[in-house]
Amino acid sequence: MTASERPHVSAAMTELDHPALYRLMTWLSPAFPVGGFAYSSGIEWAVEAGDVDDAASLRGWLSTMLTDGSGFCDAVFLVHAHRAMELGDIDRLREVAELAAAFVPSRERQLETTAQGRAFIEIARSAWNSPGLDDAVSQCEAMVYPVAVGVVGAAHGIQSSLLLHAYLHAVTSNWISAGSRLIPLGQTDSQRVLAALEPVVTATAVRAISASLDDIGSATFRADLASLRHETQYTRLFRS
């Protein structure tokens, strides 16, 4: 069964899928050492400015970031990086990697995504190396986080749909973690926000799976400005 015939996560898992599940759980866990805890994607400024001040406003902010911002864009980059890697089309992979790096709206978001991408590749190579991975990595100048995840996932034969849902859910969870530390929220409210965003994560992933690179675009001006303003924020717990 190919990936294209099985577009949804809900497909029953076979025995063969179990290692894929373990790796997704590991690679996209907050315990995986890519430094994710240090970044807020501009949420720290949004809290400072009062745009985000409770569970409801956090949910609204993140829903927009997923649907119309870096959530959707990064999802499309992940899918295209995965596809290029799967086909062994290194020229195509390099183009996707360059476009994804160019698409980042601010200096600190760039640090956030390139540092995590680099760490993801390095630890994956050290503990789960796979044929072709070194070669692909050496051909690219920089890999932002979603591209790194797409490339490593493809090198391990993990289908892009599974990988994408897991990635978007993990990113959302990390945003909520940042928001809950900053607002601050209780653990229960944080989980409620995550539960409420599940349909948004699903819809964003489903839309991204069939999107072309021309479909990419974002309209989250306030979130992008927040990540720019964060550079000069006086008291900071996060690097972005």
Binding site: A31, A38, R125, V137, S138, E141, R236
Partner: protein, 214 residues
């Protein structure tokens, strides 16, 4: 075209990475300020990483000390808990150390000062080759007896501010004996960083145990 750097635990590191941890105010930055000239005097090529929580205060203090080229001092704004960036997920510090090695290819030893933390902080072995834990007599002579992981597991325990012992009612001999006992005989050294006392013994140990020079 530049390529992605590929380094991690399984590849040789060019510089020895030495961690310095310990509670807030125990004298970690003061120790760094004493170690810099002492290491340089012995011809050791060094660089420094500081971990500040929400500012770059410690990094600025070291940069402005005039002891070292400010370019060789890297600040990692850790943000969350100081132990997270040295133990649970040291990615940011590994990145900073790799970057210093790229910029200064001859660097032999990188001092990595943690943000002030509690007695439970330890360094990941992915991050450091050797780490020391700094406590001070004014924090109380019961600290070694509490047997925190920092006190027990560090490669070297430094007891700083020994000049204050008589003023805070600490029996220094007993504190050192108890520290050595809970550490199973592994090294415990005494310093007064303000006056620069006890620093040479630390550098001797680093030369022997970390740089294998003696």
């Amino acid at each position: 075209m530049s390529r992605l750097a590929l380094t991690r635990a399984d590849e040789p590191m060019t510089a020895a990475r030495v961690g310095i941890g310990g509670p807030v105010g125990s004298g970690k930055t003061a120790l760094v300020e004493r170690l810099i000239p002492a290491l340089q005097t012995r011809g050791i090529d060094i660089a420094v990483i500081t971990n500040d929580l929400v500012t770059a205060e410690d990094a600025e203090r070291v940069r402005r000390s005039g002891l070292i080229d400010p370019e060789r001092v890297s600040a990692v704004e850790a943000g969350a808990c100081p132990h997270t960036v040295i133990r649970e997920d040291p990615t940011l510090n590994i990145e900073a150390a790799d970057e210093l090695e790229r910029r200064f290819p001859g660097v032999e030893l990188i001092l990595l000062e943690s943000g002030g933390d509690n007695l439970a902080s330890t360094f990941s072995r992915d991050l450091t080759d050797f780490w020391m834990f700094v406590i001070d007599v004014a924090g109380g002579d019961d600290i070694p007896r509490k047997r925190g992981p920092g006190v027990i597991r560090a490669d070297l325990l430094v007891i700083n501010k020994v000049d204050l012992a008589p003023h805070v009612g600490v029996d220094l001999g007993r504190m050192q004996r108890e520290a050595t006992e809970v550490r199973g005989g592994r090294p415990v050294l005494l310093t007064n960083c303000r006056r620069g006392e006890g620093i040479e013994a630390i550098v001797d140990l680093l030369e022997r145990e970390v740089l294998f020079r003696k």
